[in-house]
């Protein structure tokens, strides 16, 4: 049997795929990979279908020993890692796949000025699916690995190894943006003129209290002049809420499905992958955009991703 042996699990290492839909009404969020482009590229680089499960890690990643037949692996994102083989150590490059053999180790040291990275294998992890997805939601204990993060000393079986692994490499740099484009939210008018101005003109800092559920920001207080609570209602990924303390919270992939804080804005779909990569301490600035422009930008973003995939064929 081919398998990964987890020597060091890392800080927040989980199995993820495209996530699960049609469950918001019972309180189960999307989950799934935080950065979709890097997920799709990871699978493409090892010759998988683009929706296969991968290992997602944040900050410090796992140290893994591999046992079994030769297999292709790749790491995407902006990640510092090395491969420890019998006689040599290789400084790894992201977006370049590597063949590893029985006894080799993958040491994912850390993400670099970013949050999430991805490890894909040319094969299939042996995982339990729940509602059609392996994605692990550690808060609700839903998904593969009993809904938990990867643990030290755990073993993960791998089957269906791609029999004809090809060397693939992509010339791509995971650019960092600090300007996040936003469509006005349904409670935009709950905020004072000064508050609206602060929201679109001042910088905010990403707080340490950020995780897969939400990103908290710190900055000048955004004053609410109507009501700091609304009737609880549905939330979606990317919604920016302002609770009574005046600091924004952005809903991310594992967010609670219902909330009662006013919504000042929503991050556009095209900027979501870049948003989640902003690590604590990063500066962030919001820019207002119209719906039609957001739709065009998403098409362009999707085209860019498709172009990258087609370079690999």
């Amino acid at each position: 049997m081919n398998r990964f042996e987890i020597i060091r699990a890392g800080i927040n290492t989980t199995f993820q795929d495209d996530g699960r839909n049609h469950l918001y009404h019972i309180g189960i969020p999307l989950s799934g990979v935080m950065d979709k482009r890097n997920y799709i590229l990871a699978n493409s680089l090892v010759g998988n279908k683009i929706d296969k499960p991968v290992i997602e890690f944040a900050y410090q990643g796992p140290l893994i020993k591999y046992k079994g037949d030769r297999i292709n692996i790749v790491i995407t994102g902006d990640v510092i890692f090395k491969l420890i083989k019998k006689e040599i150590e290789i400084e790894g490059n992201c977006y370049e796949n590597y063949l590893i053999e029985d006894g080799d180790q993958i040491d994912i040291i850390s993400t670099n000025k970013s949050v999430y990275g991805y490890l894909a294998v040319g094969g299939e992890f042996d995982l339990k699916f729940q509602w059609g997805s392996c994605s692990t939601n550690t808060k609700a204990n839903v998904g593969s690995n009993d809904g938990k993060k990867l643990q030290n000393d755990q073993k993960i079986n791998i089957s269906n190894i791609n029999s004809n692994p090809l060397k693939k490499k992509l010339d791509y740099i995971n650019t960092r943006i600090e300007k996040i484009r936003v469509i006005k939210g349904t409670n935009f008018n709950y905020f004072s003129d000064e508050g609206k101005k602060i929201f679109f003109e001042k910088e905010f800092i990403v707080s340490k209290l950020s995780d897969r559920m939400g990103m908290r920001l710190e900055g000048q207080r955004i004053e609410n002049i109507v009501d700091t609570n609304i009737r609880s209602e549905g939330l979606i990924k990317g919604v920016i809420q302002i609770p009574a303390d005046g600091n924004p919270i952005i809903m991310l992939s594992d967010h609670g499905t219902i909330g009662g804080y006013p919504k000042i804005g929503v991050v556009i779909s095209a900027d979501y992958d870049k948003l989640v990569q902003l690590s604590p301490g990063s500066k962030i600035k919001f820019q207002e955009i119209e719906l039609s422009d957001a739709e065009t930008l998403f098409k362009l973003y999707e085209m860019e991703t498709q172009n990258l995939i087609s370079q690999l064929k």
Partner: protein, 224 residues
């Protein structure tokens, strides 16, 4: 009827059914919710009904705001509520070890505990929505004499099965979670079971719930 449809970001519709929160408004929301759910409209990825809103998320790769808005406006609504809604009895134990906020309720409501339990158990409740955490039902309406605000400082951990009160609503904590509702009792019944993929949640929007008071020994024997 939907009073107003707007966009929530670039991948969701925000359907507003009016400012009033009552059973009538919410029944309209739920009618739309079930009709859309049964119809399986291409591109829709999630439906989130709440007291007076319905949020419809969609896949921006497959469709867009304008297309889904047109589909919602043209939608023929069936009154599927009656066939899909059910009446559920939930056993609750109010022993001191479970009725965590009974003293606070006595103070805030200026009412003896016997009277609080009596008022609570005599009513039928309507499920407005489920969510926040998996399977948590938001039930209403509490008797007018029974309405209190959230705790000033929320609990870091509310035990699984706790039944809470806030304003006109009651809820059930389907698993241990932070929370600020006034805890009146605890149910031994599994309200959310993620191993049941088809119907993990016992209570759905539109259902009717009756609470039944049970003794501590019944509570302890419940799952045996």
């Amino acid at each position: 009827m939907i009073k107003n449809i707007s966009n929530l970001g670039d991948a969701a519709l925000y359907c507003d059914f009016g400012v009033d929160v009552n059973k009538e408004t919410n029944s309209e929301v739920i009618k739309y919710f079930w009709s859309l759910k049964k119809k399986e409209v291409q591109g829709i990825t999630n439906l989130t009904p709440s007291y007076n809103k319905l949020i419809i998320s969609f896949d921006l790769k497959k469709t867009n705001f304008k297309e889904i808005k047109k589909k919602i406006e043209d939608l023929v609504i069936n009154d599927t509520k009656s066939e899909l809604s059910k009446k559920i009895q939930i056993p609750i134990c109010c022993a001191d070890e479970f009725s965590l906020d009974i003293k606070r309720l006595e103070e805030k409501l200026s009412m003896k505990r016997e009277r609080i339990y009596e008022n609570f158990f005599k009513k039928e409740y309507f499920c407005y929505m489920t969510g926040f955490i998996a399977g948590m039902p938001f039930l209403g309406d509490l008797d007018k004499t029974m309405r209190v605000n959230r705790l000033e400082t929320p609990r870091v951990k509310v035990p699984k099965g706790s039944v809470g009160l806030t304003e006109q609503f009651a809820n059930v904590y389907t698993f241990e979670s932070p929370g600020g509702w006034n805890i009146i009792g605890n149910t031994p019944l599994e309200i959310f079971d993620s191993s049941k993929e088809e119907s993990p949640n016992l209570i759905s929007p539109g259902d009717t719930v009756i609470f039944k008071q049970i003794s501590l020994s019944d509570y302890k024997n419940f799952n045996e």
